[in-house]
Symmetry: C2
Subunit: 342 residues, 2 copies
DNA sequence: CTGAAAGCGCTTACAG
DNA sequence: CTGAAAGCGCTTACAG
């Protein structure tokens, strides 16, 4: 149990020169003679010297670490997003600390507190559905720790944002259902306060309107982002006197719940009820019948959010303006929404 | 953009006392007068002082951070495991850095390098299936950074280990299939070098033997831990002249692949082929028919590994001996292995 | 080209 | 009870 990391002091002692010189030689400073440099670098290598990042952090007030907060890492969408974050972070020499909010404002705030304490250089976050309040993020910004929002974005915070064109995704999915002959299209939406919920709902609504179809209050239900939520809402929908012939699900888990409930209830997809949802493709394809999916470029989303964040961190002065990037979703039609005739 | 964290120096200046006194007052040292203490603590609170953990790390050579390496965080088993790690770590005042090896020895080594550099206090790891070599972990230990293995454990490293009773899980699952009348039971196993692969294979084999059934080489195939792997091996199995009437899958994804392939090929589960697999219950239940599953206490596994690690970190002297904890798996029978007669 | 000194934020023996 | 000093590992103006 020898915790003997080599230090600059040690190298200096061995070579009988000053710490300053060693430090400069290691950083390849032009003011050190080639000869000294070589001596120092050779010794450092043979001793496996690596600079103590903690000392550096203390000095530079920079940790080369960024934080990510997502609602839940077990969710494929977010784990893929984290992949994108790590990809960029890693390639630009940063490390990543991952936090889960579990959709709780409380946990989100404790994460931001930890981030502030740890002097993390910046944060990318998909806010918890509970969070209407952005104060904890504003505080971070005021401490000089930039924050970039992705997926779930809110107006309350002035910063870069990366999101998916939810409106268009829902619009196109709804149009697809209409084109397949569905006339009573329901939507199980996500939790109320989240912006993506609103956008998707609007896309759904506008598509109906465009095609002269009625918008029925009773066909729109809000649900937490869980399978149980989707299942329960589906029961509710199918119990209606005027039951839907298609359902649009707002998330992976909700859509799984819809699929599950319909099977339980004995409905055939797509003949009795067509199903489409915002869903990871590998999950959607696992189902029987495979579910038509609006897929999101999650990895890319993580990448873009992170590169915006690192730019913010590395630039001296705040940017002229903050940008909001809108990525496109993808419609993948599978059996669950193909009417028998086709 | 004011990066003005309050420091001890600042408090000392405002109160016109020395840094030493402030430091001691904050740590509630008995050698400081109640009066001074109160003054200091009150001011610190009103200024939202929080000690700089980086300075503390430099001083104490401790970061209060542990590392976790898993093959893939998108895998439910591991994300749940990480939940367990964070649960314990958090409650004992540690933070967690998460690394993914993507099953590559290379990535695993770069993670351990980073961990050593960052002076992380300890590491829990489920080794990559590629890793037969444990040198990078041994090195960590030699630097005084304890390592605890979970899930995938190997003999090459002397330390605490936490694993599931794979042997028994596979044994019981196989017995279950036999009791259901299956007579030609195949096994799609995981990658060769991993210990759990061997254990599960043995459990399968011994169960067959116990019931006087033949062990057929051609009914055992190794697969990477992917859905595609499971699918392809299933094609291979079902193409045999003497095809199996049951398949035991060695992991979530492999089992998904089996299910998928059987459906593609037009076999009914469980009538034509019974299926059971090591699998997360929420995934297994999503399928149609729902898959019988050997479930593992993943969250608990993360908890136990972490508490063993923290004990190691916090004890001065190395433990008298290293222990290996073996957790029990659970057999959850669902439709995929219930023969029609039942 | 090289070194002594100060300092990042903190703690803790050592004096008094 | 309180303070000055040294030190964790490093960098960098300031001298020379």
């Amino acid at each position: 149990m020898t915790k003997t990391s080599v230090t600059i002091k040690e190298i200096a002692r061995l070579l009988d020169i000053s710490k300053s010189t060693v430090s400069r030689a290691l950083r390849d400073s032009s003011e050190i003679s080639e000869e000294t440099k070589k001596k120092v670098i050779d010794l450092a290598e043979s001793l496996h010297y690596s600079p103590n990042p903690i000392a550096l952090s203390l000095l530079k007030q920079r940790t080369h670490t960024i934080g990510v907060i997502v609602p839940d890492i077990a969710n494929r969408f977010y784990s893929s997003t984290i992949g994108g974050v790590e990809d960029i972070a890693y390639s630009r020499g940063y490390h990543t600390m991952i936090y889960q909010s579990h959709e709780l404002l409380d946990r989100e705030m404790s994460a931001t507190r930890h981030i502030a304490q740890r002097r993390v250089d910046g944060l990318v976050v998909a806010i918890a559905s509970q969070s209407e309040n952005m104060d904890h993020f504003v505080q971070l910004q005021e401490q000089g720790i930039p924050v970039v929002l992705f997926d779930r974005v809110l107006d309350g915070l002035e910063t870069h944002k990366v999101r998916v064109d939810d409106y268009k995704g829902a619009f196109e999915a709804t149009e697809h259902l209409i084109s397949r002959g569905c006339r009573r299209i329901a939507h199980i939406a996500g939790p109320q306060p989240v912006s993506i919920t609103r956008n998707r709902l609007e896309g759904y609504r506008d598509a109906l309107q465009k095609h002269g179809m009625e918008f029925q209050e009773e066909w729109v239900l809000h649900s937490p982002i869980t399978q149980e939520g989707g299942t329960e809402r589906t029961y509710q929908l199918m119990a209606l006197r005027n039951r839907p012939d298609a359902i649009l699900g707002a998330s992976d888990r909700i859509t799984m719940g819809i699929h599950w409930a319909l099977r339980q209830l004995g409905y055939k997809m797509p003949d009795d009820v067509a199903v489409i949802g915002f869903c990871d493709l590998s999950l959607a394809s696992l189902m029987d019948p495979p579910i038509s999916a609006i897929t999101q470029p999650s990895f890319e989303m993580g990448q873009q959010a992170t590169s915006l964040l690192l730019d913010l961190i590395e630039s001296k002065n705040p940017p002229a303006h903050y940008e909001t990037r809108v990525l496109q979703s993808n419609l993948v039609i599978q059996k669950s929404s193909l009417k028998a005739s086709e």
